[in-house]
Symmetry: C2
Subunit: 412 residues, 2 copies
């Protein structure tokens, strides 16, 4: 099995082994605002909407929700409206594929892009574990592109593309999380987004824009790269795991690229792959997300007012808490994201899995060694901290334990 899945597995497994540890590792959404009754409420909202749309034909409603269904999904029009309302993206609903979470969207995209052994993916690194996972399933090598304080080192992107071409490889796309990246929390500026688009056009690259956290940022942030995309350079990967409900496992991909020799957009190629992989995304699960969209005028920003406040306040608490505990500690520093779930903490020693184990066992606090976000798996002096799913008192206690661990380790 690939190192990627071993890595994901190790992190899950350690969380299970130390259930009383406070996790600054998990990137899960806050579940304090989850409500089980939402499942019925949202499902019924979508059901009523569908009944009206189908002119009251109950049999057609039953068929749509309970039978095998459209490969590209049933809530594509609502998603297109959400993209218009929340992101200023003009999306043709026919260019959307509703997927089993964003992870399937990533897989479908990479599987469609991969033609032969020479195709490679570029990824801003450190990068989300899932992109290495999907790439390894389609046997597509991932070439790292250096992250910079601005989020992506565009000179390195160009250098990597040229080096790959010189080696006979075909760089197909560059994967990036422009808003509050996982793991670094960095948000790309408008200028970097525009330069990235320019490079993509000049170098004939696609950009895979993954955007699970963007809606938790300030309203005056830069637009998504897709909203700036005039030449269909961006494949936009969407998730409802953080803004909708993780338990629905619904995501989507907007792939409006033209495909030589094909009548429809790239989305149609993805749908063909999906028909061989999962056939279609559960319409019951789609209805739950569709109902949540409908209940908020298709604005997930509106639907997540309390969540946004929770994440913002948690992140601020972590930043203040780090300053209080480590403001004068040599060798300890961190970056200061303006939103999202994550930040990177630099410590005076390399943090590998064996130290995480020690931290879990002796100090009852979990964090993520950043090497899990690199293909080379070499321990570095950096850990990812996440606070998304915690309550204020858990954050304080988690940071206390973390400080104890760092103090202990610095003196041994």
């Amino acid at each position: 099995m690939s190192p990627v899945s071993e890595s994901m597995n190790f992190l899950n497994e350690i969380a299970h082994r130390f259930p009383d540890a406070i996790s600054l590792a998990a990137g899960r959404p806050f579940e304090g605002l989850f409500d089980l009754d939402d499942v019925h409420r949202y499902f019924d909202t979508y059901r009523r909407h569908l009944t009206a749309r189908l002119g009251g034909d109950e049999q057609a409603v039953r068929r749509t929700l309970l039978q095998y269904g459209r490969t590209k999904g049933i809530i594509h029009e609502l998603i297109a409206e959400h993209l218009r309302v929340d992101e200023g993206i003009t999306a043709d609903p026919q260019a959307l594929v509703v997927t089993v979470g964003c992870q399937e969207a990533l897989y479908l995209t990479l599987r469609a892009l991969r033609r032969d052994d020479r195709d490679v993916l570029l990824a801003v690194t450190p990068s989300y574990v899932g992109v290495h996972g999907a790439a390894s399933l389609v046997d597509m090598p991932v070439l790292p592109v250096r992250e910079s304080p601005e989020g992506i080192d565009l000179d390195d992107l160009l250098a990597q593309v040229r080096r790959a071409r010189a080696a006979g490889l075909n760089p197909r796309a560059c994967y990036v999380i422009p808003d509050f990246a996982n793991p670094s929390g960095i948000r790309l500026s408008l200028e970097v987004r525009q330069r990235l688009l320019r490079i993509a056009a000049e170098e004939d690259l696609l950009i895979l824009e993954d955007n699970p956290y963007g809606l938790f940022g300030d309203l005056d942030g830069p637009p998504t790269v897709k909203a700036l995309d005039e030449r269909a350079r961006v494949v936009y990967l969407g998730s409802f795991a953080k803004t909708g409900l993780p338990g629905a496992r619904v995501g989507y991909v907007l792939a409006d690229q033209r495909v030589p020799g094909a009548a429809g957009p790239l989305a149609d190629q993805l749908a063909k792959i999906k028909s061989m992989l999962t056939v279609n995304t559960s319409p019951i699960a789609q209805a739950v997300i569709g109902g949540k969209l409908l209940a908020h005028g298709c604005s997930l920003r509106a639907a997540n007012t309390r969540e946004r406040e929770h994440y913002r306040s948690n992140l601020a608490q972590v930043l203040t808490g780090l300053q209080k505990r480590f403001g004068a500690t040599p060798g300890v520093s961190w970056n200061t994201p303006t939103g999202g779930f994550f930040l990177l903490l630099t410590v005076p020693f390399p943090v590998g899995d064996e130290l995480l184990e020690l931290s879990a066992e002796k100090f009852r606090v979990l964090w993520t060694p950043v090497h899990h976000f690199y293909a080379d798996a070499q321990a570095r002096n950096v850990m990812r901290l996440s606070s998304s799913h915690l309550r204020p008192e858990e954050i304080e206690e988690g940071l206390n334990r973390l400080a104890d661990f760092i103090r202990y380790r610095s003196h041994t």
Copy 2:
């Protein structure tokens, strides 16, 4: 794009273009017994069960149903109980992976079995389109094994294995639907099942047993191959699309094989792949299926009493209807499955896609050209007829139109 997906696409597309045609093509379950309120009812049944199991811990219930969850799924124990009750299979719940329909189970299994370019799959042919789809996604060639009137030509299986090995290939497994195969409707006898198991052990092959229709057969039918499997030769692929609800998109795989060098069963390898593909199957969708299982003491046979009667009666009507219309027609013959959704009709002329198009346009009746179930895509004199989703009057009218088409085509 692969011929497989073109094939699936063509068949879907023609059904959409001729909505007033009667479809003897679609293999969908009968939706006349679907009830939208079941979604809430089953979900709540499972929710109550979970609340009791978790000692009333509402937060844990919310987390289980709405948060990211266990990669291998949450209803594995209910599925194990169903396998015990309905199939006499003793399944370790830890060897089960709950999947996004049976199609994902197939993909995960093939992806895990594929080590390099020499690995190949054997499949009783004509075979279900989905197996070619999943195999093409993992770049694993499919070698056909001849179907015989008994369902599988075991001499040909042995010959294929040996020929493949002589050519430097590694046959990893043989795919088979032992109960009412798609497309032929044939059911393997107990003796054939036992010989198949013996060959698998002797030749070090796995059997991929796909069983979506078995529960619609008589109670005195032969046991599943998995129930006879004493040496963990069978990977059992399960679907709830026909016995549960297609709209839940929930299936599973029982993979209890030991893996050299690994602590857990093959299921754990599949779970690692799943974590990179779809992360986990929607717990909301799983809860709906879990509730249906609970509502019927984990017996899907009990849950499908009316459905079984519907399918049995439809198949009998088609067989009688064919006899009435073609009993004396030279060149027209058919097999007589004892259950399931399908049968094969032989006609006096090769039936390719262009004839299906003619049949749809001029005669308003759809059927499936059998070449879609072969890798070579050569038109043959055989079509698959399905009656699962129709009402009696639609079957009569469909067969009338089919008779008109065959008469017309025989005389031109």
